[in-house]
């Protein structure tokens, strides 16, 4: 691919194909489907954060006339080896089962214990009172410190720390340890003229999608059972439910409804397997929804973290060593994003000596789920805060310091490979020359800058393109569209085929109508599913050439295809795509292009964010005055939705840094489980979020695309944290920068 390439459609700001339904209320989301004869499910949740279940009696509920079915952990067929066809490790599956419906222990307040299905929503809720549970209440473990201290109550008696040189012999709350190194940090620190070292912490936060989890299911003995739900990966929902209920993949059809936000939080199952059990037992369709409170108490938050970072540099700004120790809360079951945290923390820097160790720690909170670049915001917050502190110690401009040490093509990452072409330097230079960075700062305000990195992934995508006899067509894909990706698919197919985007209708098909697609996550969809769309369109072109050759009675080699027109090279004849389709009947039937790929070569995306914040010295109240997000998109297919990803990530990061946090009581009850007191940013809290799209093409993608969805949430934590530090003249080490915390700092300093 070439950067100078002229595009017909790519780079335009077309109207999204699913837009009309979404602005008129016609689009159907998770809670919008009802079926004839449908009944409602409800879930009994734990009132304790940590307890053994000593007795569970559902007989009264089962006996109640309004109740059609009751489900408990006992309804999961023993998850045996054969059941693991789709390849999930057994322990993970057991964890999933025990998270969906508790086994012998409840591990967080709100942990699901049992479910009932009844004629109405109200009847189902009421029937929960008929279930009796006896608990042996245990001390809750609510922080990393509490979890790793000697004698801490252990959540899982069989959990031995993985990744130790010497295998662990006693159970603990540390699920795993990981270590990455490059060069020798001891040598690096010995060479340093200046060293900064500091500890940081970030709170438990929630993805905060506005649509609560919901599902409507219908169990069917003689055909595939149907699951309707909002998910980032309906094929993975199918695999998980099949494993949990010992069913074959072919026995389950998952329909991905429109999805009201996910951000990583809708990549697992909560209600779906439970609803299917209830439907199987009752013989009726079952609908289940989470309340907003349930969403906060029992669906995937993002890990809280504790980090220490140490950085050494020469007086000229050359960084000689970077070292970090990272602890992540996994929630009730192992599996925090500690790994990617360790891998990303120092990736923006080309430094000889690096060392990172990470710990995956279980606590009595909901099982952490992915959240936009999982693990990276917590880790890079610590690293970027320390780098900015280093810059001020050296008396260097933070952009100059980063440019001096920036990762570039050929930089050896701490996790192994050398980077290919990346856009970090381009982003830093764009930041330096931005109007924002040139602008003056008002009193009581501070300015923060931070960089961020995320890998992005490729993986499996399957796409078919059907052409109709009039030349219109459908793009059948299997990547749930969480932010406008159908528009990009349409544009890429139209670009290759040389037709108008609106003539091709993109459809996110259910699990029966398209082959397996990996979950929409890892910023993979426009990259990987886009690659499949391009390949399917190229497949169509080969067929169009062959069909035209038949019509002209020449060989396909004598046919060229440009901008939607087939040209007969041995004459000046030409046929449009529509004309070829109109004659398809004569030349062998209708035309379908297909691609099943496992995409390689995902292009990492770097970002640099700039933030100005004013702090009221008498109250600690913060006000975001100006914000600019600069990121390498490789190539922006639909610039508006690329900007939207930058802006959305930036604002989620601003919320994380300023006001969002899970507030727990001593006994482990979340005290702010609602949008009133879990304070996500409002329209009135924010200025315009300025964006600069940098385009350093990814050489592995035909159009140069890099994923853009996740990187944007990585820089804001340190950009905001640094702006606040500058505004109050004190180092921020703990998020969120809530007014009580800031005012305390200001007053203690006097």
């Amino acid at each position: 691919m070439s950067e100078a390439r002229e595009y017909q459609h790519i780079g335009q700001r077309t109207i999204r194909p699913d837009g009309f339904d979404k602005v008129t209320g016609k689009a159907n989301y998770g809670a919008d489907l009802s079926l004839p004869g449908m009944i409602w499910g409800a879930i009994l949740r734990s009132p304790h954060a940590h307890a053994k279940i000593t007795a569970l009696d559902v007989s009264q509920a089962e006996a109640h006339p309004d109740v059609f079915a009751v489900a408990t952990y006992q309804d999961f067929p023993s998850v045996n080896a054969e059941a693991l066809a789709a390849g999930t490790a057994r322990k993970d599956l057991v964890d999933t089962a025990a998270n969906v419906l508790a086994d012998t222990k409840v591990l967080y307040h709100g942990h699901a214990i049992a479910a009932v299905a009844a004629r109405t929503e109200a009847a189902a809720q009421a029937a929960l009172d008929l279930i009796t549970v006896a608990y042996d209440v245990m001390e809750p473990v609510l922080t990393i410190d509490a979890a790793i201290k000697d004698g801490a109550p252990v959540l899982h008696d069989d959990m031995m720390t993985q990744g130790l040189a010497e295998p662990a012999s006693v159970a603990s709350n540390i699920a795993a340890r990981m270590e990455l190194k490059k060069g020798d940090v001891a040598v690096g620190f010995a060479d340093a003229d200046v060293i900064v070292e500091r500890a940081y912490e970030t709170p438990t936060v929630h993805q905060g999608y506005i649509e609560p989890h919901a599902t409507t299911v219908r169990f069917d003995d003689n055909g595939p059972s149907m699951i309707w739900c909002p998910t980032q990966g309906h094929f993975d929902v199918r695999a998980r439910v099949a494993q949990l209920l010992n069913m074959e993949l072919g026995q389950i059809k998952v329909v991905a409804s429109e999805i009201g936000g996910g951000f990583g939080g809708k990549t697992t199952v909560y209600l779906e397997p439970v609803a299917l059990i209830l439907s199987k037992k009752s013989g009726r369709p079952v609908k289940m929804t989470m309340s907003r409170e349930d969403v906060f108490r029992a669906s995937g938050p993002a890990s809280a973290s504790q980090s220490t970072v140490k950085i050494g540099a020469k007086s000229d700004g050359t960084i000689t060593a970077m070292q970090a120790s990272l602890h992540y809360e996994a929630g009730a079951f192992k599996g925090s994003p500690m790994g990617p945290g360790c891998m990303t923390i120092f990736t923006p820097y080309d430094v000889e000596n690096m060392y990172v160790e990470g710990f995956d720690v279980v606590v009595n909170k909901p099982k952490a789920a992915a959240y936009r670049a999982p693990g990276a915001p917590q880790a890079e917050f610590a690293a970027e805060m320390a780098v900015n502190e280093l810059a001020s110690k050296l008396g260097m401009d933070p952009i100059d310091l980063r440019l001096k040490n920036a990762a570039k093509e050929g930089t050896q990452t701490i996790y192994g490979p050398k980077l290919k072409t990346v856009g970090l330097e381009a982003c830093l230079l764009a930041a330096q020359s931005s109007p924002h960075y040139q602008s003056a700062l008002k009193d009581n305000a501070g300015r923060g800058l931070a960089a961020g990195f995320w890998f992005n992934i490729g993986g499996q995508s399957s796409v078919m393109i059907h052409l109709n006899p009039d030349g219109t067509g459908s793009i059948i894909e299997g990547s749930p569209d969480i932010g406008g990706s159908r528009a990009s698919m349409q544009m890429m197919a139209a670009e290759v085929l040389g037709v108008a985007p609106a003539t091709l209708n993109p459809i996110v098909a259910d699990t029966e109508h398209v082959a397996y697609n990996q979950t929409t996550g890892g910023s993979r969809t426009t990259f990987a599913t886009g690659m499949a769309v391009i390949e399917a369109a190229e497949d169509i072109i080969e067929q169009l050439k062959a069909r035209a050759a038949e019509l002209w009675n020449v060989t396909p080699e004598q046919v060229d295809y440009q901008n939607g027109i087939a040209l007969n090279l041995s004459s000046d004849d030409h046929l449009s795509l529509a004309e070829i389709c109109a004659k398809a009947e004569k030349t062998g039937g209708q035309i379908t292009g297909r691609a099943n790929i496992n995409a390689r070569g995902a292009g990492p995306s770097f970002a640099v964010h700039l933030c100005d914040i004013e702090v009221d010295p008498e109250t600690g109240k913060t006000d975001v005055l100006r914000y600019t997000a600069i990121q390498d998109a490789g190539k922006a297919i639909h610039p508006s939705y690329v900007e939207g990803q930058f802006q959305g990530g930036a604002v989620q990061g601003i919320g994380w840094a300023l006001n969002e946090e899970y507030v727990y009581s001593a006994d482990g009850v979340m005290e702010n489980a609602g949008f009133l007191d879990y304070r996500i940013p409002l329209a009135s809290d924010l200025p315009e979020i300025e964006t600069i799209i940098v385009e350093v093409p990814n050489s592995f993608h035909p159009f140069g695309v890099r994923g853009v969805g996740e990187t944007g949430i990585v820089p804001p934590l340190a950009a905001v944290g640094t702006a606040v530090s500058e505004a109050i003249g004190l180092p921020v080490t703990s998020l969120p920068c809530s007014p009580p915390k800031l005012l305390k700092m200001i007053m203690e300093q006097g």
Binding site: A122, F675, L682, S738, P739
Partner: protein
Amino acid sequence: MAALTYHAPDSIDAAIALLADASSPPKVMSGGTDLIIQMQRPKAPDTFVVDVKKIPGMREAEWSDDGLTLGPAMSCSEFTKRGDIKSVFPGLVEAAYLIGSTQVQGRASLGGNLCNASPAADTIPALMANHAICVIQGPGGTRHVPVEAFVTGVGKNCLEKGELLAALILPKPTPGTSDAYLRFIPRTEMDIAVAGAAVSLTLDHKGVCQRARVAIGAVAPTAILVPEAEEILVGQPISDDVLERLAKAASDAASPITDRRGTVEFRRQVVGVLTKRAALIAAERAGDQS
């Protein structure tokens, strides 16, 4: 959600009758923005709801020689659009404007905010600063209670069985008087007050304070008056020194708690800051009046 009996009487007498012989615990509903959420809580008791919005006058506001007679069920959005009220009680209108979102203001009312008696209610300090009187009607007739005596505790008011809040009376302020209300919230909107302060001042033509009334919210089980603050202000021009002493008096009067919204130290400090800032705004407005 609790089982619920709903009535929407069209007269005060009918409402009183319903409240007097209610089968289950009666709740008067105007905007319902607190009540409906409370009724949806698990294990919420069965409730006998009397919706007063259809009673004539309940959503009106009229001026007389005594001042403003306000229908307690008038929605905040109607109330805040009343230029005639805003010109006299800008602080009270600001307080009403701060209640929840635009959507919540379409329903919520001053009477509901008062009867719900949350320690953090925004309009209660502003009503107190403006000497508001509650007109209570019940089986035993009509009685008048000053707003500071109406609220008796967290979520508690002085209404007896069968009684309801029929009207609020806001005495017409003397010339040179104006008010202001400020609250602290972490965001710019949508939050419950972490601390609030309402100030009403009367200045003479020289800018010397003749009368003052200061009420603070969310720093005690109920909104409270700060008499010390009034002593500091009366007879003084509004100087920096006076404002600093005022702030300290408000902080000292506070007896806040630590909860998910703020700490004792934070609330104590911030309520003082808000009081002095509100006094400054009220003084400017009063200056324009005199």
